[in-house]
Symmetry: C2
Subunit: 103 residues, 2 copies
DNA sequence: CCTATAGTTCGATTATATACGTACTATCAT
DNA sequence: ATGATAGTACGTATATAATCGAACTATAGG
């Protein structure tokens, strides 16, 4: 039996701004989003910063549920990307604002 | 003896984007921010939507701590405003993005 | 001075998140 | 098949946050 051949990614229309803000308000997740903004695509392990796999898995799940990250399965790795265009369409300017902050 | 003659409002430079996002991610607080964006200035009671005073006081405290809201004491009322300019300077585009969302 | 009003503070409860070890699943290489 | 690798799922512990009643503080008005 096979679970996890592919992921469910929510329609951005069903994601509230509160939901998105909450997902972005965690330092670990914000860091993931920042890296995906730069690196375009990365495996979970590439972004873990030494944190345990189960913790990272949790954060990726939250990011997916908030419509922010897309994950595709590529062999043994799960490659993540920012859902830039869709997020920008649903929440114009949000990612620019969040990712543009220094300090 | 007198506490509470005036409020402490943090310098925006000390507020992180995570902190601001967290403050905005709560529905009650986001609603407060939305109303302040329209009404310019309002007392706590004017924005309570029927919720208990102690709950509202908590949310205003979080908003103040995140540098988003300024409160001045005017007699028996505490009048709140959005710290628009300062927040815009620290997090350009954030409030526009958050307040501009429909649905 | 007494009372009403607007908010705060305290404290307890409950809900929601985070963190992460362990066990499990899927894929790939040998 | 075996073993290695990447990540998920589950369970539990812990931390953080929301809710709100009750007691308190400050101000205004009679």
């Amino acid at each position: 039996m096979s679970a996890m051949r592919t992921y469910q990614h929510p329609d951005l229309a069903t994601v509230t701004i509160e939901h998105a803000l909450h997902a972005l308000s965690d330092p670990v997740r914000l860091d993931i989003v920042r890296q995906l903004d730069r690196e375009i695509e990365a495996s979970c392990a590439a972004l873990d910063g030494g944190r345990p796999k189960s913790s990272m898995s949790h954060h990726f799940r939250v990011l997916r549920a908030a419509g922010l990250v897309h994950t595709r399965i590529a062999g043994v790795q799960h490659m993540n990307t920012l859902r830039r265009e869709e997020v920008d369409k649903r929440f114009p300017g949000l990612l620019d604002a969040v990712l543009g902050v220094k300090g």
